[in-house]
């Protein structure tokens, strides 16, 4: 167990290191950030000074070493635009994003798994075919467009929901949470539904595929030969087996939700870290982009690790090694 943890920790560090390298390299290709901080009418001397202050006059290697060391010191640089530590900016906005991702994930799981189990258990039926066509439809939808149409119909035309923003929040352990107020819920519903559609469709399809795969297994027929009722065969013997592939992609799906949250937040003016990323890309606010990517990479790596742990809880055949 300890050996496993050490191994995983090293692996995770290597991945994060590779990510930092790629992020740094790509960022140095992009335009000159010095023009983001100097006034338009700055003289060459002023530009050169700004360059020195930002450390942009040194070689790439030196810049990278500095970048790495400051990361280890917890200093991710300051936003060129907000003149605040970039990490603080992102951390302030992270709860809003996580909240939306969480609601979207919950929606997706609650709706897709029962439907997927049904469709997998009755592959030929009309209802299953409708479910599957619906899920294919869900995969094909451009999420940003769905969000816009929801805004137009439910917010602009009929006024059932607010079209943007986060609404009232309550402070819990220093984080602002909107799930505890009714107003917060009315604000989060549309973005969360928009965000969850793709994941819903994918989880549904994976659950169904898992269920169908399991349906072909001998132990399912053996269970029936034991006299187990078809429903119980499905749920007691089938479901858990069919959830293994679902767990595999669960981590990836959370990643997808965080990624797509950038778009959803942009449409709904949701004050999360995704919108901050997009804004920062427009403004070439390099430190914020870098912190965002490093932080998200860390989240993904941790989620993957947790998923692997979850695996061993479900499947006794898998041991940590």
């Amino acid at each position: 167990m300890l050996g496993y943890l050490t191994k995983r920790l090293i692996q995770m560090t290597v991945v994060l290191w590779v990510v930092s390298l790629i992020v740094f390299m790509m960022m140095s290709f992009t335009g000159d950030p010095v023009f983001m901080v100097v006034p338009i009418d700055a003289t060459d001397a002023e530009i050169a000074q700004a360059r020195r202050i930002l450390g942009l006059d040194q070689s790439l290697f030196v810049q990278y070493v500095k970048f790495l060391t400051s990361i280890f010191e917890g200093d991710f640089g300051r936003s060129y635009v907000f003149r605040q530590p970039a990490l603080d900016l992102i951390l302030q906005r992270m709860p809003a994003t996580l909240e939306m991702v969480l609601v979207a994930m919950a929606l997706a799981v609650v709706i897709s798994i029962p439907l997927g189990v049904y469709a997998g258990a009755h592959p030929g039926s009309r209802i299953s075919k409708t479910i599957m066509a619906g899920s294919l439809f869900g995969i094909s939808l451009p999420g940003f467009w769905v969000g816009m149409m929801l805004i137009y119909l439910l917010a602009v035309q009929w006024g059932w929901f607010p079209s943007s923003g986060r609404g009232d929040t309550v402070e819990v352990f220093g984080m602002r949470v909107s799930l505890l107020t009714a107003d917060g819920w009315t604000h989060i519903i549309l973005p969360a539904v928009t965000l969850s559609l793709g994941t819903m469709a994918i989880l549904l399809r994976i659950t169904r595929a898992g269920m169908m795969e399991v349906g072909r297994q001998d132990y399912m027929k053996f269970a029936r030969a034991k006299g187990v009722a078809p429903r119980d065969v499905l749920f007691r013997h089938g479901l858990k087996n069919s959830l293994i592939p679902v767990v595999t992609i669960f981590g990836l799906q959370i990643g997808d939700l965080i990624a797509f949250a950038t778009i959803t937040e942009t449409i709904f003016s949701w004050p999360g870290m995704g919108k901050l990323l997009i804004d920062s890309i427009y403004r070439a606010d390099r430190p914020v982009i870098v912190v965002y990517l490093m932080l998200v990479a860390l989240i993904f790596v941790v989620i993957n690790f947790l998923v692997d742990l979850l695996y061993t809880l479900i499947d006794p055949r898998i041991t940590l090694k």
């Binding site: 297994q217 001998d218 132990y219 027929k221 030969a225 006299g227 187990v228 006794p316």
Partner: protein, 330 residues
Amino acid sequence: MSVQKQALLEVRDLKTRFYTFAGVVNAVDGVSFSVGRGEILGLVGESGGGKSVIGFSILGLIDPPGKVDDGEILFGGVDLRRKSEKELQKIRGKEIAMVFQDPMTSLNPLQTVGEQIDEMLRLHSDLDGKARRARCIEMLSDVGISEAEKRLNNYPHQFSGGMRQRVVIAIAMIAGPQLIIADEPTTALDVTIQSQILKLMKQQVREREASMILITHDLAVVSQMADEIVVLYCGKIVEKGPKQDLISKPAHPYTQGLLGSIPKLHDRQDRLTQIPGTVPDVRNLPQGCNFRERCPFAQARCAEEEPEQHALDAGRSVACHFPLEQELAP
């Protein structure tokens, strides 16, 4: 041995078909046989001969595109085909149990062996938790698993193939069924383990005075185990009768062919003979006798007319126009 036994299971003119893209497959085509109480019946034939389908047909476990189209399956005098799914659930496992071919896949990998044995008692007995547990331990020791109490909490992957098949047998036996259908129970196992498992099954069946249908492609296995033998070819019975007679004096060329491919210990044999050719495409059977293209004795009549089942002496019957060295019954 030949005391008149009352039939426990009687299958009459069973027809099971599969409706596939490429056409209708007559997997079981008008098969009739009976199993007496306490009797072991061997169902023999090459793979693809519809043997397993018979087992699943009896339990009502044929899935689409397959369907039992015709025939009666009388179990204790009652036709199982007329039973509802609910009634069949009470019979499966409790009255008729099944042992599958591959113990690697017939156990649920995510449940402990204990849970899977216990499930039978939860379904088919009124025992409380404690009594059930005791019963499970007892059963596991009965099938030769040591430290049964500890092993209950193990998962299937922690057992070897032979041990898993013992677990499967324990599951099949624990509710005290009257009939066990064993579908190639040793095919997936190492040769050395095979005879242990067969011995165990025979002993368990005899001890409990249960009956068994042993489905196999291996006539050698059947000759060790069975009282009666039914030989199938392309979904039809070609020959049936008591083991001794059938093995010593096969009437159908196909049976003889199967026997020829068993190595014998005492007779001098220069080489094993093999049946030439392969099983024909079941969707596109030849006219006349299905076996004629592989039969060394085939004649013109075999190509025109399909042989009917007719009785020989001593409870035997054969479906062949020219049975081997037998006197026809009057």
